[in-house]
């Protein structure tokens, strides 16, 4: 009654895969012919139920023939006593490192031996090689790797096996695979679950790991209030648009493309113009309009911004904080908003229990007037941004503009109060007059 036993076991495993179900139905139909049904199940599951007294030699079958070149390589490999599975990947990697070749290696391994001898080492080697082949974020590849494990062998059959750690190396390997998925942020699907249940049983360590992933991943999937798209745009202008919108934190802010990236071929040679993309909100324009023209404004940067694994740099236009004697308390304009009073002057009996403010001094930093991103952070390019800003903010023509640029990325900091001789390393501080700036702009225009 081998077939019936096998059916019972499969049912207890809680299988879901349709192929297995079909096989079992088939087996149930052929129940009187025990031997036949056993063969059916063996073929579908890829692994036979070993009889108690049977030697593994009885089950040794010829490896599934693959294409002749690989077979030859297999023969060469069999001569060696130590088989390293890195080697299999290395040989394929010489041609091309793609998903297709990776899958081919896994297929070659699975078809070589019905008992999948050395599959733990193979899976460890494959997991290590995944980033090289660029498949470390591919769920189907992970499922394919899980499929390399022989099915049903590692499922504990009685309570004693269940009590002790059944096939610990194999379970560790399965957990390792799931952990790598977790590290790359890949959520397993139902196929993975079916495979794990078939391989290790429903209360095994890999199953626990799977359940933990399935519990915690969806909880934190949307925890980020400032989400970054998984696929960042390739186009630098689109990327700049996205990042500027992110850092501006203002829905009214308007992105302006001051210059598209283009290559110009003139008699003097090939000139590449970098892209210049800027953002400015109405509030910032208002602030800039109120700026005292005697005080300089600064172009600073580059400051880093990280979008997942990509770092982009931005530049800001800002001013020094106002000295305390020049600060004017502006009263709220009561007609600015009729629906919602901006200031309430009620004498309520409020005590400490109603005070939700924090007892800290405010950090006084100068206002930020605009931000921009460009691929080439030299002064000529940024001048172009400033002259583009001048069209909407005429005050910039009267305000001296100072450039404080650094060659490399620098920390995001406000303006330290520069003394008279204050100069940072590698800083070019150039005061541009309006006339110079206008001329510069004109010459740029001619070049275009």
């Amino acid at each position: 009654m081998n077939g019936a036993r096998c059916l019972l076991r499969l049912q207890s495993v809680g299988f879901l895969a349709p192929s297995v179900r079909a096989a079992v139905q088939h087996a149930a139909l052929l129940q009187p012919a025990t031997a036949l049904s056993q063969i059916t199940v063996r073929n579908t599951c890829g692994q036979a139920l070993r009889r108690f007294h049977g030697s593994p030699g009885c089950y040794k079958s010829q490896p599934v023939p693959t294409d002749p070149g690989e077979e030859h390589e297999d023969r060469v490999k069999k001569d060696k006593s130590l088989i390293t599975h890195d080697d299999l990947f290395e040989r394929v990697a010489r041609e091309a490192k793609t998903k297709a070749t990776f899958n081919r290696v896994v297929d070659v391994f699975s078809k070589r031996d019905i008992r999948r001898r050395g599959h733990v080492e193979f899976i460890y080697a494959a997991l290590k090689k995944m980033p090289e082949f660029g498949v470390e974020r591919d769920l189907t590849v992970y499922n394919k790797l899980l499929d390399v494990f022989p099915k049903e062998v590692f499922v504990p059959r009685n309570f004693i096996q269940r009590m002790f750690n059944h096939y610990p190396r194999q379970q560790e390997c399965g957990v390792h695979l799931l952990e790598q998925m977790e590290n790359y942020g890949i959520m397993p699907n139902v196929d993975s679950k079916v495979l794990i249940v078939q391989i290790f049983g429903d209360k095994s360590h890999p199953m626990r790991k799977y359940q933990r992933i399935m519990y915690w991943f969806p909880k934190f999937k949307h925890a980020n209030p400032f989400p970054v798209p998984v696929q960042l745009p390739e186009d630098p202008v689109d990327l700049a648009r996205l990042s500027l919108n992110r850092i501006a934190n203002d829905l009214d802010a308007k992105v302006t493309v001051y210059q598209m990236p283009c290559t110009d071929i003139s008699e003097s040679g090939e000139i590449t113009f970098p892209h210049v993309v800027g953002i400015q909100s109405p509030d910032q324009m208002e602030l800039l309009a109120k700026h005292n023209p005697n005080r300089p404004v600064f172009v600073e940067g580059p400051f880093p911004l990280w979008l997942r694994k990509i770092c982009v740099y931005y530049y800001i236009l800002r001013a020094d904080p106002l000295p305390p004697e020049e600060k004017v308390e502006e009263p709220y304009d009561p007609e600015r908003c009729f629906d919602f009073p901006l200031q309430l002057d009620l004498d309520l009996d409020r005590d400490m229990g109603d005070d939700d403010s924090f007892d800290v001094e405010d950090v006084d930093e100068g206002p930020v007037f605009a931000m921009c991103m460009t691929s080439q952070g030299d002064q000529a390019t940024l001048n172009q941004w400033i002259s583009g800003l001048q069209e909407t903010n005429p005050i910039l023509g009267r305000v001296p503009t100072l450039f404080r640029l650094e060659a490399g990325p620098r920390e995001l900091q406000g303006v330290a109060d520069p003394g008279p001789g204050y100069r940072e390393e590698g800083e070019e501080e150039v005061e541009t007059d309006i006339v110079v700036e206008e001329e510069h702009q004109r010459s740029q225009g001619v070049k275009q």
């Binding site: 934190n249 800290v360 930020v368 990325p409």
Partner: protein
């Protein structure tokens, strides 16, 4: 009866008092034994400090220590007359916000420890300094997630900054008691990287000493400051970097440390500017715990 009880009582108090003195005063009036013997933790790669013991005595340091600890002791005694934790009772009951750390001078950086994966052989670097006008704290450095080549470490790449646990007089244990608040409030300016906030609370059993309650801190990036409010109910329990199956809410009456960790596997420079770290009572937030506690997870 009363007399006998009283006589019974007095020597016990005297004995306890002497115990207290011996346990707490003796090691600190002289220099601590570990400081003398050079028994401090030796980082891998450091050479052993072979300075003889008698060269490590510093009279000024001892006097400084005595002054500091007795001042703390005096404040502890006199503070009780004012109210709990040295604050008036009305303030203790009614306060809705409390600023725990603000960075307004070089001495405020003393309360923090910076470390990176160099301790396990990695190559990340992290530094802490005061930001602009000495009014903010800037943590900067580079992250490098290449694991050390020791054959067993599989992951690396973290930089962290952790507050030192509060100490009373003579280095007795003290804890932050935030039980009247429910939200952590930070004012930060980052560069778009996600960070993690770890709160370490006092535990009873020694196997719980690595327990931490964590939540994520997402930064927007850009030149503007960002106010972040994280309810304490969202903090989940983890131990040695693994989320635990049976979760329970963070008990706020004995909080030891708070840490901010970066480990987002993106190699490169990072920076985070912190203005202040505060706790507040958000009356609109009524959630007690954000995760399931009524059954084991995953269910057995």
């Amino acid at each position: 009866m009363a007399v006998s009880r009283a006589t019974h009582f007095t020597p016990a108090v005297r004995f306890l008092g002497s115990c207290y003195k011996q346990r707490h005063l003796a090691p600190h009036l002289s220099v601590g034994w570990r400081a003398i013997s050079g028994g401090e933790y030796k980082r891998p790669g450091q050479t052993q400090d072979n300075t003889p013991i008698w060269k490590k005595f510093d009279f000024d340091k001892g006097v400084e220590g005595i002054r500091k600890h007795f001042t703390l002791l005096k404040n502890e005694f006199l503070g009780r007359w004012t109210g709990p934790e040295g604050k008036p009772l009305i303030e203790h009951i009614l306060e809705q916000t409390r600023v725990i750390w603000e960075f307004r001078g070089p001495e405020s950086l003393e309360q923090w420890t910076v470390s990176s994966d160099q301790e396990i052989g990695g190559r990340s670097e992290a530094y802490l300094k005061l930001g602009r006008n000495n009014t903010t704290c800037l943590m900067y450095g580079t992250l490098c997630s290449a694991p050390p080549r020791d054959g067993e470490t599989r992951y690396s790449g973290y930089c962290t900054m952790r507050s030192k646990p509060p100490m009373g007089s003579f280095d007795s244990k003290k804890h932050h008691d935030w039980s009247s608040f429910n939200t952590l409030h930070l004012r930060i300016r980052g560069d778009g990287r996600p960070w993690m906030i770890n709160v370490g609370a006092e535990t009873y059993f020694s196997h719980q000493k690595d327990d931490m309650y964590s939540y994520f801190l997402y930064t927007r990036g850009g030149p503007y400051w960002q106010d972040v409010k994280i309810p304490f109910s969202k903090f989940f329990l983890s131990s040695r970097g693994r989320i635990q199956d049976d979760q329970h809410p963070l008990w706020l009456d004995k909080v030891n440390t708070i840490g901010i960790t970066l480990g987002d596997k993106a190699d490169g420079p990072f920076q985070l500017e912190i203005d202040f770290v505060a706790v507040c009572n958000d009356r609109a937030h009524t959630e007690e715990f954000a995760y399931e506690v009524y059954k084991r997870n995953p269910e057995v």
